[in-house]
Amino acid sequence: MHKNAFARGAAFVLALTISVGLAACGDNQPVPQHNSQGQVETESGHIVGEFAGSGASSQQSANEAWIAGFQYRHTGARISYDPAGSGAGVTAFLNGSVIWAGTDEPLSDDQVEQSKSVCAGSSAFELPVYVTPIALAYNLPQAGLNKPNRHLNMDPVTIAQIFQGQITRWNDRRLAELNPDVELPDLAITVIHRSDKSGTTKSLLKYMEASAGPAWPYQPGQNWPNDIGQGAKGTAGLVMTLTQAEGTFGYADVAQTNGLGTVAVRVGSSYVPATEQTAAAMLEHKVTFKPQGANSLRKVLDVDYATNKAGTYPILLISYDVVCKAYRNDANGKKADFAKSWLTYLESDSGQQQSASNAGSVPLSSNIRQGFAHSVREIGVA
């Protein structure tokens, strides 16, 4: 367990100290491929030049993978992504200093209005590019519950009670009733939540609000609403804190919870663990586009967090890319050209595969990809 804590620590160091540096490290040299004639062939796309994006840190590892994949296709392109945070990214986009912004939060009406100063002819729009399930994770190694195939069962009301300090011990009767075949330890529950503003927190809180009903009195926001338990900075810091003591309980992207136990949440009458399959099922059946104006290219997803459908895992984080249909100060339409190729690549099978295998994201459903492609087609079209 100690060793694990140190490994987490090392991850924490990496995340904190070189997070900005890493984004610039997408310079992976393309691997030359031999075609049927035995000649070396480098697929050289038409995009040439330097292009910068900025925004949500949740998308960081996905963007690193995408940048590597994109630069492999377009050998003349040099792309960077600064994981400065959703707010900072959108601000940079609205200043015109980056071509696209990554954000966990759809644009506000104000921001759409402001974007007319950087976009030519129309306002900016956002497309969903990155979806990942958020797991409720716990550290109970002594009780043998940290195994990948063992999940504690919880329903939304129980989770709300834990997060509000009403259930304070692991062997509480209310938890034991949901887990009749598990011997729960006599240990205090230490809730660990994010201390920084975070889209992960907001997604979880939206789920709590939609599913727990009156048991959850707080409005969803990017900051944790109460002082129960402890706060930790960033996903890496939160996961490190989880591993530092026995009996901790928190939330993080599934891909980051290796070595910890995760909760199967009650959906309808069954308990669903956070896996790629259950999240994909959720995306397929319970996530739809929010209705927009007739000519709007915006594609904002509406998640039915209160789902009852068996096998769908409801707690999803959705992250968007913000771009323009056409850019101001854009000689030869180079920026729009890049935005179009970039998003086309993200939406493609290989782009989706790239982020799924490198960042643990859930591939977008065919329905979402259709709407996505519809908006991308309009980029650069006068």
């Binding site: 804590a5 140190f6 620590g9 924490f12 160091v13 904190l16 100290t17 840190s57 400065a84 945070g85 959703s86 707010g87 900072a88 959108v90 601000t91 205090a188 230490t190 201390s195 920084d196 503003k197 975070s198 889209g199 707080y218 409005q219 926001g221 990017q222 900051n223 944790w224 609403p225 109460n226 002082d227 129960i228 338990g229 402890q230 706060g231 930790a232 900075k233 810091g237 490190m240 804190t241 530092q244 003591a245 009996g247 901790t248």
Partner: protein, 334 residues
Amino acid sequence: MKNMASSQPVNNCKSNQVSSFTEADATQSGHLADRIFKILAWTAGIVIFVALAAVTLFLILRALPAFTGSPADRASALDALSGGRVTSFLAYVGPLLFGTVIIAGLSLLVAFPISVGIALFITHYAPRKLSTLLSSVIDLLAAIPSVVYGLWGALIVVPAITGFWAWVAHYLGWIPLFSGPVAAPARSVATVALVLAVMIVPIITSVARDICAQAPRLQQEAALALGATKWETIRLAVLPFAKSGLISASMLGLGRALGETMAVLMILSPGFSYSLHLLRASTSQTIAANIASQFPEANAMGVASLIATGLVLFLITFLVNFIARRITGKGSSK
């Protein structure tokens, strides 16, 4: 006075050396060098004012929307920053200021006696070899960046000290300061204050050492000759002399503790209250760490509110220094 007296002969010496040049040459080149150096010194002096003015101006201009913007915008920005707890700026900055002061104050409380002890040990007790070694170790510690202290605190101190705090709470829990439940892992105000104390000890020590070493020999020998013990000598002839210097040394340390960001960010589980329960989790947060954790996801009005809290920190640091100056001014005039 001493310095002036000793610099006189050096000047004479120089003018003797240049006497082979004509008088006019010597004065001209001397004047030129003098003028250049004077300009350089003046520029250096003014740069610090310009920097201070630039920082102040930046803080005020960027913080302005947090006071003049539309009330609805301001309230919603603060609501988002505080997780729906408060909507007014004073209610937002109050607990943060409290946390900043309590953490920095505690760390100074721990660090000051230790630092003075080390300084006196180096100057008055340790054998020469040991004191040289100690001095260089202290200077080395002062150069360690705070992110390293933060890592050490988060990875080593926090898991190791949890049991000790539980013990403290068990036996001293009747004192409200130490009442439980103890945070597990111990990411509490008490742990942060200890790590910050370790961080500022070398800073205070290295200044305090230089001051204690300058205490007048004659007075110390006179005290010893009158039959004073070593402790009495230190109390009579060293501490009164060093008093104002020790205070400015501790202000230097306090300044670093007040503005410390990285170590606090990595160790503390932040909270939002006026609680004095040092061992509990999520009671307080400092202004600097709060800015660092909230800035990336903040919108324009949120950033203005955060910069306004930075302005408050700036003013507090100013105030602390001002008070320290007043105290040292009184101390030395006695």
